[in-house]
Symmetry: C2
Subunit: 165 residues, 2 copies
């Protein structure tokens, strides 16, 4: 079976820097129905599945007020992704594009971001809609979504125009 993280024709890898510059804590885990990459939805709006975010007890007090938010920004760590590709050709696209023009998990810092709808908070467990990641994905951060600064409904991704998903 082909390794889905193998390099494809036209893709470009670089040598990464020798040293890291900063470090992260995993602050919880994301629970989803998807246990293989193939089963994951192609993007977060492709599924209405309710997913669970389990925040570590250590950070329980940091959730005060979160329940008043209708939407959250979830940052998580794509721990299985290679980091050295600067040009990529995802499975469902025909052309090679730059990593910073794609939402692929493969990137120098594999931090993913999803905007989720918050259904409820019970202790350190959040129920949300709008995730598309693998079960067990490490959580990095939760932020309130402010429509005033985070919503840009007029935004366009030129290369993606006219495509489905």
């Amino acid at each position: 079976m082909a390794d889905p993280y193998d390099i494809r024709a036209g893709e470009v890898a670089i040598t990464l820097p020798e040293r890291f510059d900063a470090s992260l804590y995993f602050i919880g885990r994301i629970r989803t129905p998807w246990t293989t990459r193939e089963k994951c939805p192609r993007n977060p709006r492709e599924s209405d599945a309710v997913c669970t975010i389990d925040v570590d007890e250590r950070f329980a007090a940091a959730l005060k007020g979160v329940e008043t938010c209708s939407h959250l920004i979830v940052l998580y760590w794509m721990d299985r992704a290679r980091r050295d590709l600067v040009q990529q050709r995802p499975r469902h696209y025909d052309e090679t594009r730059g990593t910073f023009a794609l939402r692929s998990p493969v990137r120098p810092n594999p931090i993913a971001l999803s905007v989720v709808r918050l259904l409820k908070v019970e202790g350190t467990r959040l129920s949300v809609v709008g995730l598309d990641c693998l079960d067990g994905t490490p959580l990095l951060d939760l932020k309130p979504y402010f429509a005033s600064t985070d919503a840009a409904p007029e935004a366009e991704v030129g290369w993606h125009r006219g495509r489905q998903g």
Copy 2:
């Protein structure tokens, strides 16, 4: 002069985990007109200043296609922020709230996120509107902004309702 990162009455600090779980590369630098925290706009829509993102040459090829995006998500590292506060009372608010209900730079993983309007790409230099960070802030990632999954104009932050900024 008071250290702006000092703890305030009602704020709660925790002991952070003993070990880190993952590491980051700084992939560029953000250039803004603001050299002290006091001079930074309170949020990214408070200023129309054109800011510059300098991506390291090593990642130049990763910008292919970025110029077709009207908006980008910029992730950057708040390298001066403490990481151990779970409840905070930002200067301009009256109440203590959980870190995950705030956009404060002080958080276990001080990754900040801004949605910016892309004006132009010249080589590895991007001109954008919508940043509010200090000059010299380390860059972590650039992502295309997809209105279909990232825009939630109906979102509400309950505790913030009726406030200005």
